[in-house]
């Protein structure tokens, strides 16, 4: 274990209110991990605050969305020889104490999704958004031949094979990145497991979630799944094993 290097990747877009706190907590809970903030074209001082808090900062010249920010993180991880990448949100909704748990899941899987739905979870969604998430969960669990109860979770870990795949192929479409990346992983024969994580209410920033959002989300995610499925076992150039 001594030589393994882990990267905690935090995509951030105008998150000055919470970024220092998140980085501080990651450093406190996971001193063995390097922290990479992918500043996704922020117009505030997110990048400066993140660098001052001790993170490596990669700044995209303009906003490309979470998908593009994460592919940048995977490229960075691939080029710097990291064995695992853990993605967490910059808005403080995820508990950095859980990073260990998702990392441990990588012992038996290529991708580990931190699920917010479990008996002790305080996380709750209702209405159309809930229906959308249930449908996506059913579709992806079926494809995966294993349960993925929270495919839209942004708290996840990727092992070496997944890093190689995602540094080449990661969906950039708005709202399509979480579900789309899982579909790509399944199609490339990677194993996906899940593990329970804690979900907090957001510290800052505005939630972007209502009925219209859900409909849009479902539409785009469905399209992403369909497109990936119909590609028929997409394997990117280069050997994944």
């Amino acid at each position: 274990m001594g030589l393994e290097r882990f990267l905690v990747a935090i995509p951030a877009w105008n998150e000055r209110g919470s970024i220092e706190d998140v980085i501080g907590k990651v450093n406190q809970h996971q001193p063995q991990c390097d922290v990479l903030v992918v500043n996704d074209g922020s117009t505030d001082d997110t990048a400066t605050l993140a660098a001052e808090a001790g993170a490596t900062v990669v700044s995209l010249p303009f906003n490309v969305g979470v998908g593009g920010a994460m592919r940048t993180a995977f490229l960075y991880a691939e080029r710097h020889g990291y064995q695992a990448v853990v993605q967490i949100d910059a808005d403080g909704q995820h508990d950095p104490a859980d990073v260990n748990r998702v990392l441990q899941g990588l012992d038996s899987a290529d991708v580990v999704v931190g699920t917010r739905f479990h008996p002790t979870s305080q996380y709750f969604v209702g209405g159309p958004r809930r229906w959308a998430m249930v449908l996506l969960s059913l579709a992806l669990s079926r494809m995966n031949r294993g349960r993925i109860s929270d495919p839209t979770s942004g708290f996840r870990a990727a092992g070496p094979r997944a890093i190689r795949l995602f540094s080449v192929e990661y969906p950039a479409d708005y709202l399509g990145d979480t579900v789309g990346s899982l579909a790509i992983a399944i199609r490339s024969n990677l194993t996906i497991h899940e593990t329970p994580v804690t979900m907090y209410f957001r510290q800052s920033g505005r939630p972007s979630k209502n009925a219209l959002w859900s409909a849009l989300y479902l539409g785009r995610a469905t399209l992403a799944i369909l497109a990936t499925s119909l590609k028929g076992g997409y394997i990117p150039k280069g050997d994944l094993s």
């Binding site: 990669v58 010249p61 950039a172």
Partner: protein, 118 residues
Amino acid sequence: MSAQLLGAFASIVTFVFVFSLLRRGILREKYAVLWLLFSGAALFFSVFPAALLWVSTRLNVAEPVNLLFFATLVMLILVAIQLSYELSRHEARIRRLAEEVALLNEQLNEERFPRDSD
């Protein structure tokens, strides 16, 4: 007769305009060729309306003008799809470039101002 003149005039103007854009290197051949073909065809049919009549009888289209509208629509849709395709490709490439720029920038900063190693 005047409608015929108008059609011929419009297609000549289009042809000359596209050709001058091409000549000045503003428009690339792969886009210009399509428009030149369209305006060429439009010019042909406005000068020889009998040709349009002949084609539509062959295709069993009652109103020759409907054939014209249909063909125009199909061509415009094809051009629009081609543009969407090019746009998607460019977006993907620009995103890739943005990612590379971001990583290079970080590398440069790292070399200029090395961080204190733990």
